[in-house]
Amino acid sequence: METQIQLTCEDVPGKADARIVRFIGDLDATNVDFTTEKIFGYFDEGLVKIIADFKQLRYVNSTGLGVLLHFNKSAKEKAGCFKIVNLNENVYEIIEIIGATSLLDIYDELDEAVAALV
């Protein structure tokens, strides 16, 4: 069955090692492998600063939450970052329920996350 997530990527002006990745759809057990392959592909290309735009991400399940934590940890290990922006209320609340808001790098707006890149 076709994966229910699309990832699109765009440059961050002036930041050669950063990318904005827009998540569109649902992140769940059916597409975490695809998503992991994409994100780690960026890491392998030296794009270790990822801003994940969740504006069009409708849903994340427990497996998806797990990989977000994994991306965050892996990016930091590579001296990068995995910043999340534009979370919808339902997804934010699930992250809050599992106690991960302090573990993940979450911003309200894309501009804030871009400005926080070092």
């Binding site: 069955m1 229910q4 649902d26 769940d28 057990a29 059916t30 849903y59 399940n61 427990s62 497996t63 939450l65 797990g66 990989v67 934590l69 994994h70 965050n72 940890k73 209320e89 339902n90 609340e93 699930i94 329920i97 599992i98 106690g99 991960a100 302090s102 573990l103």
Partner: protein, 152 residues
């Protein structure tokens, strides 16, 4: 549209995780049509997703020839989700008993070193009750009840 409560959505699924998204979304949509909030529907969707994934991956050990039975009984004030599978190995059933019977987690579930294994823990946090029944043939049934927030 008026809805006559209770009603039941019942489906038998092939043991393939790819079939879960359509089913969980259908239940979520049905709940919203029945007057439950989008938040309630979203959280129920997460419950259905986690319990079904557990049933397929562990209970039926991803054997596509076996089935998972999903039943969602919708009452005016609550939803009861029942998921039945073949039980899997003795080790799986023991793991499941331990996961269901331990108390609700009090601290954060997540840490940055453990990317998996939160599914049933999240279900416990989102539900009123979770019960496990294992019959003499090791057929396993998990029943989860979630109450409507505004009547809880």
């Amino acid at each position: 549209m008026s809805v006559a409560f209770p009603y039941t959505i019942g489906v038998k699924l092939q043991s393939d995780p790819d079939v879960i998204p359509a089913m969980r979304k259908f239940i979520s949509e049905a709940l919203q049509v029945s007057g439950f909030s989008a938040k309630f529907a979203f959280r129920t969707e997460i419950i259905v997703d986690a319990v079904c994934n557990n049933a397929i991956i562990y209970g039926n050990e991803s054997n596509a020839d076996s089935e998972v039975e999903v039943s969602c009984k919708v009452h005016e004030d609550r939803v009861e989700v029942v998921v039945k599978d073949r039980g899997g190995s003795v080790e799986n059933i023991e793991r499941l008993k331990e996961a269901v019977n331990c108390s609700k987690p009090e601290g954060p579930l997540a840490d940055d070193s453990e990317p998996a294994g939160m599914g049933l823990e999240i279900v416990k946090l989102l539900s009123e009750t979770i019960e496990l029944d294992v019959d003499e043939n090791n057929l396993t049934s998990i029943r989860v009840v979630r109450k409507r927030e505004d009547t809880a």
